[in-house]
């Protein structure tokens, strides 16, 4: 668990980070979202102990970064914005070097093989890093962050500069990692964060402007002509009942939320209000509606509003 409390960092008169607090639970993927220069990297550098904070505390599984830096640092795998690579080394030599300075206790060669194959670098392990493309360098950076299976992974804009295929691979990889690690993942790309993360913290000008479940922030990502639903009942019976409602165009199942509870996105014809129809269709079949939200703001709009200077109503927790 990562606990950030009242973190502040000032450079002269400039407040780079201004009273940021959030908590990341075990096994959670937290999206750290904000425009360029919002203070994302500074916050991450403080969490990882690269720079100090002016005020506030960071605790990694009970080790405070300033009081027990070695204990805290040994639990973090960090991929900074620019991967810290020694250009004159080969991939394997570099990973071996990082293995030693991280004082990893696992069997050396076997663990390195494991990390290299996870990041798909096995075929490139004897190449000199200088000669690798950006995407591969990023992977080497990720490989070093994964060394020692740290419980907390901090990734600073890991997909910047990658091609769409590599981005996709990276996302799948990070999603997979989220099962075993606590991940803090920063980005200024919305769709990326909403695709990967369980929760989003949006910061702007060094302040937290929103801290919500991704689902809530993106509940209306597709715009005003959609209806977000959470219904208890089997998928087949809910969809067939929804199809009977006039105006419904497309039904998609988003996510399973609990036993027999699913969330749906229902696209309907512009200008129609299908809420009553949906209510009657569901109640007729005895399937309780747990959540219903008509369109509303898209994630993009929410983000733009959040990161402009006008505060979003109800956005701040």
């Amino acid at each position: 668990m990562v606990e950030v409390k009242h973190l502040t960092k000032t450079y002269g008169d400039i407040k780079a980070v201004d009273d940021i607090s959030f908590t990341v639970n075990d096994g959670e993927i937290l999206g750290f979202l904000g425009p360029n220069g919002a203070g994302k990297s500074t916050t991450m550098n403080i969490i990882t102990g690269y720079i100090s904070s002016t005020g506030g505390t960071v605790t990694i599984n009970e080790s405070e970064i300033l009081k027990d830096p070695k204990g805290a640092k040994s639990q973090i795998g960090y991929l900074p914005e620019i991967p810290p690579l020694y250009m004159d080394m080969t991939v394997r030599k570099y990973i071996e070097f990082m293995f030693s300075i991280k004082k990893v206790k696992l069997p050396k060669q076997a663990h390195i093989d494991e990390v290299l194959s996870l990041t798909k670098l096995m075929d490139h392990q004897h190449r000199i890093i200088r000669n690798l493309s950006k995407g591969y360098r990023q992977r080497v950076g990720l490989a070093q962050a994964l060394l020692g299976n740290p419980p907390v992974l901090i990734l600073d804009e890991p997909t910047v500069g990658l091609d769409p295929n590599q981005i996709r691979e990276f996302r799948t990889l990070i999603k997979g990692l989220g099962k075993k690690h606590t991940v803090i993942f920063s980005s200024h790309i919305l769709s990326e964060v909403s695709a990967i993360c369980d929760r989003i913290v949006v910061i702007n000008n060094g302040r937290v402007v929103a801290d919500t479940k991704t689902l809530e922030l993106s509940s209306a990502i597709t715009g005003r002509d959609t209806l977000s639903l959470q219904v208890e009942g089997s998928v087949t019976s809910v969809t067939s009942a929804l199809k009977t409602v006039t105006g419904v165009r497309k039904i998609s199942v988003d996510k399973q939320l609990g036993e027999n509870i699913y969330s749906y996105t229902v696209e309907h014809e512009k200008g129609t209000d299908i809420r009553k129809g949906v209510f009657h269709a569901m109640s007729k079949n005895n399937m309780p509606i747990l959540y219903m939200n008509e369109g509303g703001m898209s994630l993009e709009e929410a983000y733009l509003r959040l990161t402009s200077d006008k505060p979003l109503k109800g956005g701040k927790k």
Binding site: P84, M87, D88
Partner: protein
């Protein structure tokens, strides 16, 4: 620390730096060896060593120029400072890496001494030889500590090298500076910092505890200052 040391040595010998430095050092050592010993028909190596003092002062900044400045520029210091490694381990690893590189340069003297054994009657004065060798190593260690400290202050290895060389020359001419000062006690204070003075005893084969302590103190002091610079960077 072992990992840092290994990586330092790797960076010298996997790139041209190590070989260029050794080449320069061997070239001048060979030149002075030729003048003093072969051409001058002498077994006395003291002249060779004192002539190399200047070369040492100029070569060491080239060894240390990348040490911390390049880490900062390439952002690899992020990997070092966010690892569970202590700052002391980083500094000592860097220092020992450069010192070993310098000792590799000094290896040539052993070859010279052996050459003298074979081609002259009797061997060179071993006391003088080892005195000089020890003196050069201690001098080198203190200069390395100073130059790594300089390297920790900048992101540019060119600046690091040039400032290092200037600092070296300042150290070299410190006696002349002391002579220029007319106030007696200040002059004495400055000249007591003279590296050349402290080096003198070794050239005659005398092991002086005071001089050894002087060089070791400089070494420890500047390694400590480097440590503080790394720590301060974290706090600023």
């Amino acid at each position: 620390m072992k990992a840092i040391l290994k990586r330092e040595l790797g960076s010298f010998f996997n790139s041209a730096v190590g070989y260029v430095v050794m080449g320069i050092y061997y070239f001048f050592a060979g030149l002075f060896f030729y003048f003093y010993c072969i051409s001058g028909n002498s077994k006395d190596m003291a002249g060779l060593f004192s002539s190399m003092f200047m070369i040492t002062v100029l070569v060491i900044p080239i060894i240390t120029m990348k040490s911390l400045s390049e880490e900062k520029r390439q952002k690899t210091d992020q990997a070092l400072l966010t690892s569970p490694l202590g700052l002391g381990e980083i500094v000592v690893g860097k220092f020992l890496g450069s010192l070993i590189m310098f000792v590799c340069c000094l290896a040539i003297y052993i070859l010279f001494a052996l050459t003298l054994c074979f081609y002259t009657n009797g061997s060179p004065d071993w006391a003088v030889f080892f005195g000089n060798l020890l003196g050069t190593i201690l001098l080198g260690a203190s200069l390395i500590a100073i130059d790594i400290f300089i390297s920790s202050l900048t992101e540019s290895m060119i600046i690091s090298a040039i400032v290092g060389m200037c600092a070296g020359l300042l150290i070299f001419f410190i006696d002349s500076i002391a002579n220029l000062v007319s106030v007696g006690w200040i002059s004495t204070a400055i000249s007591s910092l003279s590296f050349v003075d402290h080096y003198q005893n070794y050239t005659t084969g005398i092991f002086s505890v005071a001089d050894t302590v002087f060089f070791l103190s400089i070494t420890v002091l500047f390694n400590f200052l480097t440590l503080r610079v790394l720590e301060k960077r974290r706090w600023s």
